[in-house]
């Protein structure tokens, strides 16, 4: 084992400089930096949600029928007491959005990570070993891509009941296959590289080759794919919640808040606008960051600039 690490040292040097180059390129990309700031803000909001809720002093499902509604029972617009206004039953919209951020960030990260881990493991095995795993994988991905995503998801959730677990399972079911296909194709393109032959000749095991030789080479593209998968997961979760098939109420989610207030547009435009803005900020930030990462990792983009 020690001699394989010795031979991989000259290879490790350019990898490190690539990382530095990528980082430098990213730091220069103003859009990507702004997107990172938004993502950081969302994650911090999710992490400190209980603290923020305690500071505001309004429960997410607490109905302020006296202070949160006008005498006529109409929701309050954004103001000093209710930062982003209230909804028709007098709940604090800001607090609900903060709690919803928790759900979104958790679901996005958990589902995307699970899908990527499964996708990378299966995709690497399929690409490296080929044979039956490869055939099964391509069959499975064809079936998943053939099933209409939202209709099947809605049908599944309806048959198995709406719950947090079912929703996340559905999202992972629909997202890991395409990740595996991308990884598989990357592995097939990478495994014929000379450095793989070299490692094999030095007696490296298949596991070592997959994890230590091939994985670092495809990691960049996997990260780009992952950062572009997160907005898809966010939209999917919000869409399911919007259709009333995601996280069961009264738990606040962005999609759920928009659905709850869809008929209240005439009296409370803020109850639709702000959740939409939160959602849009999240998806746009991840898309911009993913785009920036792809540009930074793609050497051909460098040359054309």
């Amino acid at each position: 084992m020690s001699d394989t690490t010795a031979t991989s040292r000259p290879l490790a040097a350019p990898v490190l400089s690539t990382r530095q180059r990528v980082l430098r390129q990213l730091l220069r990309d103003k859009a990507a930096m702004a997107a990172s700031a938004v993502i950081l803000l969302l994650v911090l909001t999710a992490v400190f949600a209980p603290l923020i809720v305690a500071l505001v002093g309004h429960g997410p499902n607490e109905q302020f029928r006296d202070t949160g509604l006008t005498a006529g029972g109409v929701p309050l617009p954004p103001g000093s007491l209710f930062l982003l206004g209230t909804d028709v039953v007098g709940r604090d919209l800001f607090v609900r959005l903060v709690v919803g951020t928790q759900v979104t960030v958790f679901v996005a990260i958990a589902c995307a990570l699970t899908a990527i881990v499964i996708g990378v493991v299966v995709g690497m095995l399929a690409g490296y070993r080929g044979g039956i795993i490869d055939t099964l994988l391509s069959g499975f991905v064809d079936v998943v891509l053939g099933l209409p995503l939202l209709i099947t998801a809605v049908a599944l959730v309806s048959v198995y009941g709406a719950s947090f677990g079912i929703m996340m399972g559905t999202i992972v079911f629909f997202t890991w296959g395409p990740v595996a296909r991308v990884v598989r194709n990357l592995v097939v393109a990478t495994k014929s590289g000379e450095f793989v032959d070299a490692a094999r000749m030095l007696g490296a095991s298949d596991t070592h080759i997959m994890v230590r030789e091939i994985l670092p080479n495809i990691a960049g593209q996997v990260i780009v794919y992952g950062s572009l998968l997160i907005p898809q997961v966010i939209v999917l979760e919000a869409s399911l919640s919007f259709l009333g098939l995601g996280v069961p109420p009264p738990t606040a989610t962005w999609g759920g808040i928009i659905a709850e207030n869809q008929t209240n547009y005439a009296v409370a435009w803020w109850s639709i606008l702000f959740p939409s803005l939160f959602l849009l900020a999240a998806t746009l930030a991840f898309n911009v960051l993913g785009d920036g990462l792809r540009d930074a990792l793609d050497p051909t983009v460098q040359r054309s600039r």
Binding site: G146, L147, V159, V235, L243, Y265
Partner: protein, 320 residues
Amino acid sequence: MLRFLLRRLLFGLLTLWLITLAVFVLFFLATPGDPALNFAGEFATAEQVAMVSARLGLDQPVYVQYLRYMWSLLHFDLGMSFVNQEEVLATIVRRMPATISLALGSVAVWLVIAIPAGIFSARRSGQAADRLITMAALAGMSFPTFVVGTLLFYVLFFQLTNAGFPIFPSGGFVPITRDPLEWLRHMILPWATLAVVGTGTYTRIARGSMLETLNQDYVRTARAKGLGEQRVMYKHALPPAMTPVMTLVGLDLGGLLGGTIITERIWGLNGVGSLAVQAVESGDLPVIMGTVLIAAFFVVVANLCVDILQAVRDSRVRLG
């Protein structure tokens, strides 16, 4: 060519079969509780459940159930709706006009905007205009459909109508055969709802593909031998650059024809997507399975058509 067609057709049929198998497992076998109960609906009496159980052959072994299911599928029999006792296939066919109007119209809208925008952007690669278009496309891609729909509903229906300009209706579908003008009036906002995401995605794809083609050697050759810019652009670069775009159009159209749940729901279009949601809400399992299968059928057929069209245009695909 014939060999390719046959192989591709066989492959499409295999995928379709795998999908029917997946639907069988997901909705027949793995359902928690008694499937007869699911089929009979929530409010069925014990006799009704027993009757459904016998009619569907649920008292028989799994492989018999599967064979019966496949047998009826092969006869284009998707079963009966439990809510209105109508044939599932007939119900779906009746819902197709709204879905087809929505799918074809929105794809047309996004292509008309995205392709020129993508080409324009690619020709000014790296300039301010390019960066602006790329950013706008990214923003369009990031808009969840239900957010677009809700916002369009609020601004272009509610506010505009309130301001005294009732240009757009709040929703509903008017068949084109009844009144083409009303059909158009009712379809514009639904088209826009679906087209925002599509325009964003396709602008990026068209731009990327055009950029790649413009960097090809043969385009440089065409320029070098003194052809005019217009001729290079539209005769040499455009056709090959649009191939990946057209491939995706085929696939997306296939997906959209299976029903677009959110857009149909927001705009009250009685299409296949809203049928699926209604079936889910009333627990109408035969209709749920039917809509999933029909939608999958469209995706597989679209895949097949795209592959065959590409093979006709490009002999490398056939041999590869």
